[in-house]
């Protein structure tokens, strides 16, 4: 099928097998490999992207069904050589990762967690970040990063 995807403000025309997930289209066709494939079954959150500002799982989204939406991936948060998004900066400063594989999904999810208004306490952050697993168990630092980034995002 011929489809159009709007990713990080750029429109792409591509032809895909109808079974192609948004995750595979991003990684294999558009070479946006920042979005990670963990379980590919909706259980780990590594593939979290924003669609029209809402966080969703790219592994459970068909590329053909993602047309007409504004998709934001980790690559779209900071421009080339531009300053990092406050959430990216906070993850760096808090050392909120070890291996880093889940980090793009964590950061996208964390941004949505703040914009949804679900980062008002550590307990709330933990609850609303439960869809993003970290096998290195950097959870305490992820919570700290979100706590740090929240006021910076709100005054942005």
């Amino acid at each position: 099928m011929d489809i159009r995807l709007k990713v990080n403000g750029t429109e792409h025309a591509l032809s895909v097998d109808v079974r192609t997930t948004l995750l595979d289209a991003l990684r294999e066709r558009l070479e946006l490999t920042g979005t990670k494939k963990g379980c590919d079954l909706g259980q780990c959150g590594a593939c979290t992207v924003l669609m029209d500002g809402r966080r969703v799982l790219a592994c459970f989204t068909l590329a053909v069904a993602a047309q007409n939406a504004e998709i934001t991936t980790i690559e779209g948060l900071a421009g080339d050589n531009g300053p990092l998004h406050p959430m990216q900066q906070a993850f760096l400063e808090n050392d909120a990762y070890q291996c880093g594989y889940c980090t793009p999904g964590q950061i996208i999810s964390a941004i949505a967690c703040v914009t949804e208004g679900h980062a008002r306490s550590d307990d709330e952050i933990r609850e609303y970040m439960s869809g993003n697993l970290c096998r290195c168990a950097a959870y305490p630092k992820i919570v700290a990063a979100i706590r740090q980034a929240r006021p910076l995002m709100e005054t942005r």
Partner: protein
């Protein structure tokens, strides 16, 4: 994933027509694609292989709203779980429904999944989900049930049959069942009908592969929850293996209409250990007209689980279920409503 035809429907009529057009004589039926969080999951692991997916995302405009008025709560089939979980009227007047959604899945999944898709989600029984197991009467009718002697601590103890002990995994649907909701349906022949939500799902019996009473191609349009003096004093208590993003081992929906400490009326549902979304009229009857205390709560819980049937690993579930219900009842009695 096996290949499938794909079509995006512009409206309900087009979706229903597409469902008929893509139906095949032998083999599984076409599927409507909304959130896709359970459908694509099951297609990827080789459990479902529909000949066609009909994308009904465009129906959100007509069938995605949420309205509350004096008669009750109307929930569009395509409203997302996350929207309903935070709707002000649901939070204030139907807290059990809001909690059943907040405590389900995670925020990414709740952003994607629709209410109708959520109630139609399939069991998480391992033997159903893994086609390398031959014996699953739900997946391969007549093949047997590997779960009865297998890993089954997540599976059901109420409503089960010799053929199947799969549990209905959802949370929200148990609240709809308890509150006596009604579901609106549209059929490919242009007809519409409304049925009690409790009649949407069927018990496994000898035919566990038949999970609902939906007709071929029928589409859920909305749910209606009738207003009642019990809806404000209501809660959903979910017990699970980890604090978030896990299916229930046991859960309880409790809604109480109290007068001076006595139960004028109650609505009670159970989850995590039931074969289908569950309302316990036995527990409601045990409480009606009586003072609610630990003794009567325990009696209601005994009544609710009188018919429990356990298998191996899940022998602990009737007791867990009783304790969950007792705690939910006592908590609801303490609510300010």
């Amino acid at each position: 994933m096996r290949p499938f035809a794909y079509e995006r429907a512009g409206g309900a009529e087009a979706a229903l027509a597409a469902s008929t057009r893509h139906a095949v004589q032998e083999g599984p039926p076409p599927q409507y694609l909304a959130g896709g969080t359970n459908l694509l999951d099951l297609m990827k692991i080789g459990v479902m292989h529909p000949p066609a997916l009909i994308n009904i995302g465009a129906l959100r405009g007509a069938h995605g709203g949420i309205q509350a008025d004096a008669a009750g709560l109307r929930l569009g089939a395509l409203a997302h779980m996350a929207e309903a979980a935070e709707h002000p009227a649901i939070l204030s007047d139907y807290p059990a429904i809001a909690q059943s959604l907040q405590l389900a899945a995670n925020q990414q999944l709740r952003n994607m999944a629709t209410l109708a898709g959520n109630v139609l989600q399939r069991t998480r029984c391992n033997y159903f989900r893994d086609p390398s197991w031959d014996a699953c009467n739900k997946r391969r009718p007549g093949s047997g049930c590997a779960a009865k002697d297998g890993v089954n601590r997540l599976l059901a103890v109420l409503g089960v049959s010799e053929a199947c002990i799969a549990s209905y995994p959802g949370d929200f649907a148990n609240a709809l069942a308890a509150f006596g909701a009604e579901v609106g349906l549209a059929g490919p022949d242009g007809s519409t009908r409304r049925i009690p939500f409790e009649d949407l799902h069927s018990l496994p019996g000898d035919t566990p592969h038949i999970e609902t009473n939906l007709l071929p191609g029928e589409l859920i349009t909305d749910f209606h929850v009738p207003a009642g003096p019990w809806t404000r004093r209501s809660l959903y208590l979910k017990v699970r293996d980890r604090a978030s993003f896990a299916f229930a081992l046991a859960s309880a929906v409790v809604a109480l209409d109290l007068e001076g400490g006595a139960v004028r009326d109650a609505r009670i549902g159970l989850g995590g250990l039931v074969a289908k979304p569950w309302r316990s009229r036995e527990a409601e009857d045990a409480l009606r007209g009586r003072r609610l205390d630990e003794t009567t709560a325990q009696e209601a819980a005994e009544a609710a689980f009188a018919g429990a049937v356990t298998h191996g690993e899940n022998a602990f579930k009737p007791e867990l279920g009783r304790r969950t219900l007792v705690q939910a009842l006592l908590q609801a009695a303490e609510m300010e409503a």
